[in-house]
Symmetry: C2
Subunit: 295 residues, 2 copies
C-alpha cells in the first residue's frame, strides 16, 4: 500500500470565481499525475484550496477524482474544517465517494489547545473509517503539534501517518529518529515544504507530500526515486534543477505560483480564490524560466 | 453616533451542538447589555463565534438582534469569511437585516499579503454600504496590519475605524499618536484585549471592544466612563476588580471563560463549538471567585 509512502502529489482544484469546481480541468491534472506514476494523489490539500470550498463542491471534486482515477492510484482527501462536526461530515463524504485515505489539518480560528486537537482528530478518524494522516502545517493552521501529541495520536485507531513541515535546522535525521522512537513501526512520517524534500527523503522519511508534483510529477518522481535509493549525487542534481522554482515558492507562496504554472502548461486558465490575488505579469517570466530548468 | 466609540460589548452567540442559533438565549444577552447602557453591541465577533456559523445562522442571529434591540443601541456585525465573495454576501445580509455597522477581520488559511487584504477590505466595504471597522486580530487571523496598511484603508469609502490588539510594550499613547497622524480625524481607534483596556482608554483611545462587557457590561461601563473622564485612580481601582478575570482570560482564552460565566449567571447553558472544549470543573470555581470580586 503506497497510500502514505513515496511521492504524494497535491493538485490544485480548478474552480470558477464563485468556487464551483471545474471537474474536467481537475481530471486533466489527475491524469497527468497518474501518467507520471506518482504513488498517491492528495486531493483537496492546502494546494487544492479545500479551505475555500463548500462541502458540496468538495464532494463533487472527490466524486470526479474517483471516477477519473478509477482506483489505479491511491486517493487521499483533505477533510479539514473549523468545526468538528463539519470535518466528520466531510470524512464520511470522502469515504462514501470512494477515497482511500484522509488528510486532516487542525484548522483554527480561536487558537486550539492540545486536548482540543486530540479530541477533534479522534472524532474525525472515527467518523471517516479510513486511514488518516495528521496534517501538521502551522503556517496555515496556527497550531504546532508537539512530538508528544503526535505520539498520542499515532495510537488512535485509523491514524497511521503524519505530514510534517520543514524540520528545524534541516535536522530531518534527528527529527525522524525522535518521532520513530515514539510511534508504532507502521506509522509513516513524511514531509511537505518542497525545498526540504530531498534532504528529508535522503534522511529516510517515508513520504514527500509535494505541491510541485501536482503539476510536475515527472521530475518530482525522479527526485523521489533517486533519494529513496540513497543516491545523494543524483538527488542533489535533480533538486538543483528545482532550485529556481523553490525560490519562487518561498517568495510568492507555492499556492499562488501553481496557478501560473497550470496556465503556462495549458492545463487550466484559472485563478486562486479571492482574497488571494493572481501573481503580477513579471512573476510569470520568472516562473517560465524556472520551468525551463526542469525540462 | 456611538457606533465605534465608547464601550462596545461583544456577546456570545448561544447555539446548539449543531451550530443552530438559540435566538431567545441571544436576546437575553442583548437585553442585559442594553440595560447596562453600553454604547454599542458587537454581534458575531470572535466572541460571538462567527467563524463557526453558517451564513444562514449568521443571518438569523442578526435578524433576532435587530428585533430585540429595536434601534436603541447601535449594532455592529462581524462579517469575516475566508472568501471575499462570502464576506461580501455576509455584509449585504447584515445591512438588509438592519445592522448599523460592520466589523471585518481578514480571516485566512493561505497567509495573505497586504495587497490581498487591502483589496478584500475594499470589496467588502463597497458591498456592505455601512460604516466598517477594521478588525486587527493577529491571534485569530494570522495577519498583522502594518501602520501603513491601516492608513491606506482609512482612506477607503465606508472604512471608519480600527479595532487594535494589545499595544506592544503597553505603549498605547505612542501607538495612538502614530496612527492618528496617519489617519483622518474622523477615523476612530479602539482596542480589544480586555486587560489592556484601562491603559488604552486612559491614553485616549476612542473605543473599548470588550469581551467581558458581553456579560458584565455594568462594571465594564463603569471602568470605561472613569477612564474616559481621565480618572486614573478610579479606573485603576475598577480595573483591579477585574484582575482575577483577566488572569483567567489570559490562561484559558476569554472565549472559553465566557461560556462558563453565561452558565453561572443563569443566562444560557451552552457550550463552545467543538473542537473547542468546555473548561474543566475546577476552572468554574476560579471563575466564580473572579466574579465575586466584581460585585
Amino acid at each position: 500500500m503506497t497510500l502514505f509512502r513515496g511521492l504524494s502529489a497535491f493538485p490544485l482544484t480548478p474552480t470558477d470565481a464563485e468556487g464551483h469546481v471545474d471537474t474536467e480541468g481537475l481530471a486533466r491534472f489527475l491524469e497527468r499525475i497518474q501518467r507520471a506514476g506518482a504513488d498517491s494523489i492528495g486531493l483537496l490539500g492546502s494546494t487544492g484550496g479545500y479551505a475555500y470550498l463548500t462541502r458540496e463542491e468538495r464532494k463533487r471534486a472527490v466524486q470526479a477524482a474517483v471516477e477519473c482515477i478509477g482506483g489505479k492510484t491511491p486517493l487521499v482527501v483533505g477533510v479539514g474544517a473549523l468545526r468538528t462536526d463539519e470535518a466528520q461530515a466531510l470524512a464520511r463524504d470522502a469515504k462514501s465517494a470512494g477515497a482511500d485515505g484522509l488528510l486532516l489539518a487542525p484548522m483554527s480560528y480561536v487558537p486550539l489547545n492540545e486536548d482540543e486537537v486530540f479530541q477533534h482528530f479522534v472524532a474525525v478518524a472515527e467518523a471517516g473509517e479510513l486511514p488518516l494522516c495528521i496534517y501538521n502545517n502551522p503556517s496555515t493552521t496556527r497550531f504546532t503539534f508537539s512530538d508528544a501529541l503526535i505520539a498520542r495520536l499515532s495510537e488512535v485507531s485509523n491514524i497511521v501517518a503524519v505530514k510534517m513541515p520543514l524540520a528545524a535546522n534541516d535536522d530531518y535525521a534527528g527529527e525522524l529518529a525522535r518521532l520513530r522512537s515514539m510511534t508504532p513501526d507502521t506509522f509513516t512520517i513524511g514531509y511537505s515544504g518542497d525545498w526540504g524534500a530531498a534532504d528529508a527523503l535522503l534522511a529516510g522519511c517515508d513520504t514527500w507530500y509535494s505541491v510541485a508534483a501536482g503539476l510536475l510529477a515527472v521530475p518530482a518522481l525522479a527526485l523521489t526515486r533517486a533519494a529513496q535509493s540513497g543516491d545523494a549525487v543524483e538527488s542533489t542534481r535533480l533538486n538543483r534543477a528545482f532550485g529556481p522554482l523553490w525560490t519562487l515558492f518561498k517568495h510568492y507562496g507555492s499556492f499562488r505560483v501553481m496557478f501560473v504554472i497550470a496556465d503556462y502548461l495549458g492545463l487550466a486558465h484559472v485563478q486562486p480564490p479571492r482574497p488571494i490575488l493572481p501573481l503580477p505579469e513579471d512573476a510569470g517570466d520568472d516562473i517560465k524560466q524556472a520551468l525551463e530548468k526542469l525540462k
